[in-house]
Symmetry: D2
Subunit: 294 residues, 4 copies
């Protein structure tokens, strides 16, 4: 099963009305258009940045359906379909495929810690229920489940349509191992913004990032410099954007990206409680940062 | 606000049909009757053991309503109302209170890591929406959020109806600190089964445990020995039941308790996927263990 | 091989001259006399509190020889002989035995992380070189090596004169495991001061503590209450001394115990650099604490 | 104070006689000649690889004096002078300077955890006692002390001759922070072999490595490719040598490097006990690896 995902893969936020209760789909449409105008090579709705975990099932479906329709194949779309239950993840994967997703992303979210056998079965069941490729996503900080590289490759071998791996532990040695043990045949993607340069250097096929909502040009320049084998430029543009990459990670992606979009003219509401909007000092810092990066 | 929670607080499982799809409320009723027959001082539905996190909103309501009606005030009931969103937790707290809960339990479940201010606001909002007492629940292994003793006591002081604390980190020094900094005025409860003896020794008011589904007599004997100031007996009955307490913790509470109930004649189905039922070797071990504890 | 170690095992400090350069053996003699007057059941020179790791080989020998001569069998003595090399630990163990030590204590200090086989061989080589019993000491915070209960019991089984275990991880469940897997036949000792009560409750034979330099009566009262099966009193005297136990752990044993001895009339100098003496605010706090505990 | 350290900085092992008791200085001389023949830009005796922590004071002095005399300024030399006491580290720093060291390296080794003030004072006292530059070395895995980037830069600012930083945590983000907060003015060096590529990419001035004893050409090729701005070649030669870099880290540097030297005709004895020599299966693996890298 081939896949064309590479380069800058932009995450969407999920806009809410001012009180946080209603979805604001028109604003979502505008944010998608911005990402595409910024040159992203693919779009990933309903991920961590998209507060997928904080939506009701109905809201999740509305966002998925709207996003796919609005992107309309202008770029490939990979929809996050993670759910605490296997049955729920299957339902979402089905829905995403039915509405045109080019791939789905699956994080093995856990309440009770999962054994390796439980994780494998989770991916196997989801894989068997759809035809599109699956990007396996490892992010113990949000999922509570840390998959070793050995386990990840076992799943890739055993489940046909798990064809891509997104790694967000922040440990670059995991990517070395994916490259070596996967013998260069398993495309992996970086989900840890401050590792953007090193991940490309280590062989990542792409960078899954919400930063593309705010600084798409700098994201592109980094990727293009790596493609051109120009390490000095890659290093320079990486360090230029690193303060922003650090800030959005530490400040929380929904809060900081939503604040940054508002600063640049697109009102998308606040994150859902208990997550707070970016506070005033954070906003001041972000505004100054964005100005230096223009 | 006074509360009468003390002693052995038994967790209910949530029985499913064989395929895991349907709730089996009659079986739930029988398991509740068993807990009460076993002498528990209170019952806690929809906690970790009760797979509350794996239920749809509708299922959650059905289990809450049925449990409260079936317990029918024979013992006090404390319903876990945790939800990833503050709005969702408030809806559940309301529902529980409306259907007769004597208290609610709140774990600050998180996808995005929560700041202290966000956690406080979460408890404040829930507290303001109900009249019954709240048991604050700290369990970083399942929630992803670790609340320091200082933060816990700040919440207890600032939110009127947060009157009880359940501690499940497994670090007995947290209980020392609750006792000392709380000046003996903040009742705390142990949620880590293998610390049952030490927690009572350190001053815990109660022990929240799913073990009461399987070995209620031994649980009672431990509590009674502590009340009688009989350390030697407390130690002896603790070490007698410790292998089971260790086993249900390591094997996962829903899987092990459901298996144990089936062995003793009450069929309650399996945990919901991706969580597996207890495997054969685990069942053999548990069966042998239960026989030695008769 | 039988051993009589039980109860309160007091650690000595190592007094230095004002500039930290010279040993002050007369002051060491006075501190030993105080410990014995305070009722300790055994004395342990050259441990963590005794800054054994910060002494030259010659100084180490002088302290060992003087301590053993001065204690003069009034109570049993257990000398810490840990060294980074196996050869060095053997030399020290020999020296201690030759000068009358009743037992030696061995922490597997490490620069390079040690494998289980390396640790076992370390204990085996030391054990083969002496006749007195060895207390195996597990304290990953200072040694950099964490020995599992399974490994500890393997060493106890394989090395004849490793007959006692001192556990300082601060995890009470390690003691449960020592009790259960050791089938009550392997005497274990608590080295984590804030766990004093729980360790005795879990079955510890003794408490290795530097607190006996400052509050020997309270230490004794706790032990005696446990022996009398009087949990309520044990709990009360434990909580009474817990603020001091917490303080000496957090403030560092050499700094806090040396400061406390000076406050009570015995000048013993400061810890060796880079370790600082207790600062003024720490001294004020400690002085107030000691006054409330008189 | 300027310094010329850059590129590949090779660590020496410390050869012992077959029984591990005696130093084998002639073999040390040969290993130094090999490093220089292999093109290292500097040599670092008595580091972790050199088992500095396992030597007596006299042995340490013999190795330091011999190494400096034998290197004889063919390349700059940086001698590790770490000691648990400040006084001991000062003595060693003095000795190294007196015998011609171009710089000294200081790891804040700790038995009792050190506060930031204690660490700063340790560096300040050593710095005041010598004139040559100090390379501050952060390696919590061996020292038990983790210095934050903020603390490191504070020391660099406050102690004149702390002019270089060696970072071995394995977290590439520490190097980003050194680069950004140090405003590109604080040269930093990588001590974590598997991060060799990423560290250079992030701006490291040099790579402190024992691998130069075995694969000096590959180490050089990596460095030269980075200097030439040729990312593709750098990546290729990095992945080529990564299995060896991983192996020597996991197998322990003294054991693996000594085994590798013996395989290539230079007998240097075994590590000192309790550290084991490389076992047979490790030797087989290493031999095969070295053959593929010829």
């Amino acid at each position: 099963m081939s896949t064309t995902f590479h380069g800058i893969i932009g995450y969407t936020i999920t806009p809410f009305s001012h009180d946080g209760e209603q979805l604001d789909l028109p604003a979502l449409g505008k944010s998608i258009d911005r990402l595409i105008a910024g040159g992203v090579h693919a779009i990933a709705p309903l991920g961590s940045t998209g507060e997928g975990a904080y939506l009701s099932d109905l809201e999740w479906q509305q966002v998925a359906e709207f996003s796919l329709a609005h992107i309309a194949k202008r770029v490939p779309t990979i929809v996050s379909v993670s759910d605490l239950t296997t049955a729920g993840a299957i339902r979402r994967a089905h829905f995403a495929q039915a509405h045109g997703a080019d791939a789905v992303m699956v994080l093995p979210a856990a309440y009770w810690k999962l054994s390796e056998a439980e994780i494998i079965q989770h991916y196997r069941a989801i894989g068997a229920s759809i035809d599109v490729p699956i990007m396996l996503y490892n992010n113990p900080a949000t999922s509570g489940t840390d998959m070793s590289v050995e386990l990840i490759l076992k799943i890739v071998r055993e489940v046909d349509n798990v064809t891509m791996v997104k790694e967000s532990t922040g440990d670059i040695q995991r990517m070395h191992k994916l490259q070596m043990l996967g013998e260069g045949q398993v495309p992996f993607y970086n989900g840890c913004n401050p590792l953007a340069l090193e991940a490309f250097v280590a062989g990542a096929s792409g960078w899954c990032t919400a930063a593309a909502n705010l600084i798409p040009d700098l994201n592109q320049q980094l990727y293009q410099a790596v493609l051109r084998n120009d390490l000095k430029t890659a290093k320079a543009v990486f360090y230029r954007q690193l303060p922003l990459l650090d800030f959005i990670l530490k400040g929380g992606l929904p809060a900081t990206i939503k604040a940054g979009l508002a600063m640049t003219g697109l009102e998308v509401g606040e994150p859902r409680r208990p997550v707070f909007a970016l506070d005033q000092s954070g906003q001041d810092y972000l505004k100054a940062l964005l100005q230096t990066l223009r």
